[in-house]
């Protein structure tokens, strides 16, 4: 999310050079801790603030105000020649943990499944591990199958998906190009779940299961410059940057 915050700050500074913004990375926890310690005006976080963090903030005289500023969805992609159309979260978990090794076990051709993943240092990798492999269960210790290919960038994943009919991969929705096939995913945890394709709409209405909100927190209701900045974040210009960086913009009704 630090890329998004940086891009926003850069553009905003170009528009109104009298406002100086400094962006620091380090993870969601770092940002929220800085907000609690009053060393920053705005904390960006790719997860919701925890209850104990709210307690800490309030004992420090701060009541964090939450804004959902963008959304991040992960698309599951395969080669266009692969006949498989849809998978449940449970099937995805079994494929990536190595329990399912052939496409014919999930309704495809008799082909070995080649699992592609981003490198372990990518936030997308960790999110996919927690929400898909472990189905969001805290005590679940499922790991990626050892022969999962850990590829260094979205381009490398895309290249292999386009060429190799055995491959399955995942990446941010913004990195998907028309020459890959997107899989419809259903949340196997709920009973009446349907297979949903990721799109700005299904991500925003919460029906696509592998998506998360991106947050910004301010200390109390924003005022002055911070208020102007937060208003700008929801403008078309700022939300276009969201799309450019591969995230899903907030749909304003």
């Amino acid at each position: 999310m630090v890329n998004l915050a940086l891009a926003w700050a850069e553009r905003y500074h170009q528009n109104s050079p009298e406002t100086n913004l400094a962006v620091t990375g380090g993870g969601s926890g770092t940002g929220i801790a800085s907000l609690i310690n009053k060393t920053t005006d705005i904390a960006n976080a790719s997860r919701r603030i925890k209850d104990e963090e709210i307690d800490n903030a309030e004992s420090n005289g701060i009541s964090p105000t939450e804004f959902i500023v963008a959304r991040d969805a992960i698309a599951v992609i395969v080669n266009p020649d692969n006949p498989v159309e849809e998978l449940t979260l449970q099937q995805l978990s079994d494929i990536y943990s190595g329990k399912i090794n052939n496409w014919n076990e999930v309704g495809g051709e008799d082909r070995t499944i080649v699992r592609l993943s981003r490198e372990t240092n990518s936030g997308t990798h960790v999110y996919f591990l927690e929400q898909v492999l472990r189905l969001g269960e805290k005590e679940n210790k499922t790991l990626f199958a050892q022969n999962t290919l850990l590829l260094p960038s979205s381009e490398v994943i895309g290249g292999e998906i386009r060429e190799n009919p055995n491959a399955i991969g995942y990446d941010g929705l913004g990195y998907v190009t028309p020459d890959m096939k997107v899989i419809a995913v259903s949340d196997s945890r709920s009973e009446d779940a349907q297979f949903i394709f990721p799109s700005a709409e299904t991500v925003n209405n919460g029906t696509y299961p592998i998506a998360r909100d991106l947050y910004m927190y301010t200390a109390g209701e924003p005022t002055g410059t911070t208020k102007q900045y937060m208003e700008w974040i929801f403008s078309n210009e700022a939300q276009e940057i969201v799309t450019d960086l591969g995230f899903v913009p907030i749909l304003t009704p």
């Binding site: 082909r111 240092n121 960790v126």
Partner: protein, 298 residues
């Protein structure tokens, strides 16, 4: 002799001495830095954990055996491909080709050596790996074999270039003497010219291997980076993860001073020690051979 000349000469002497020693100092500093950042890993992780077969550092699995095996497979594969091809090319250019062909071939081989490795990696990723997948019917072309092929392409130019120079430096009269004694052209090359150029040829091979072991970008792009412990010979056609690729892929995002950070430096120490062993073995070998061949040929 005039005093200014002596003065400038002593200055040049000192400068040359400093540059000579600086290489040693740099190696020493790098080794010290590696040790100081890598040794803490031994306190934070039990040694037996390094000997496990799962590498998944974000959940504290620090088994480095699959990475060690990956580096070994890819480098050995590259050597097996590059040494014969490189040596034969050098022999052809130095001994057999006509002067015109030679003038045309050598610059081309050197041009291949000038390609940035990331370009070769990109070609390997987009073209070679897909071709290999179809040709040998593999689940994926991102494998140790593809990595070894491209590493061989990187190692061949220095091997050809330096061995050709060494063969070229063998005095004309050695060949003339052999031919006059009735040896065929092949016998002359194999039994006289090549042994006489032995130390230069071995240096060439060592430099080629050195480039293959240390190469990072190519293996990061084409070997698939799956830390799998090899179980059989088919590992050469499976995805693998090398030590260099692991350091390159993970160092950028790791928290400074964390266990993972120290373990990555520990892998650096392992690489350094391997390179040291290879170099020491090679140089003692070259040294011994040179003495014997000098004895025979003098």
């Amino acid at each position: 002799m005039n005093p200014r000349k002596i003065n400038s000469e002593s200055i040049i002497n000192v400068v040359i001495k400093i540059t000579g020693y600086s290489a040693i100092i740099f190696v020493g500093l790098i080794f010290y830095f590696l040790l100081s950042e890598g040794i803490p890993a031994l306190r934070e992780v039990r040694f037996s954990e390094f000997l496990q077969t799962r590498w998944y550092p974000i959940e504290d699995y620090f088994g480095i055996l699959p990475l060690l095996a990956g580096s070994l497979i890819v480098t050995l594969g590259a050597i097996i491909i590059a040494v014969p091809i490189g040596l034969l090319t050098a022999i052809y250019i130095a001994e057999i080709a006509s002067p015109r062909t030679k003038e045309f071939l050598k610059p081309f081989v050197e041009l291949l050596g000038g390609f940035p490795s990331v370009v070769l990696g990109f070609l390997g990723l987009l073209i070679l790996s897909q071709y290999i997948r179809r040709a040998i019917d593999l689940p994926t072309g991102l494998s140790a074999f593809t990595g070894a092929l491209i590493l061989a392409a990187i190692a061949i130019p220095p091997i050809v270039s330096i061995s050709e120079d060494a063969l070229d430096a063998v005095p004309r009269r050695y060949r003339d003497a052999a031919l006059a004694l009735g040896a065929t052209e092949w016998q002359t090359i194999w039994l006289v010219t090549l042994p006489a150029a032995r130390s230069g040829v071995l240096t060439a091979i060592m430099l080629g291997i050195g480039r293959a072991i240390g190469e990072t970008m190519v293996v990061l792009m084409v070997t698939g980076n799956a830390p799998v412990m090899p179980t059989g010979l088919d590992a050469i056609f499976s995805p693998t993860r090398t030590m260099t690729a692991t350091i390159a892929a993970e160092m950028g995002e790791v928290a400074t001073g964390s266990t993972h950070y120290h373990v990555l430096f520990f892998i650096g120490i392992v690489l350094f020690v391997i390179a040291l062993i290879v170099n020491v073995t090679a140089s003692t070998f070259v040294f011994r051979r040179r003495k014997r061949s000098e004895r025979i040929l003098s």
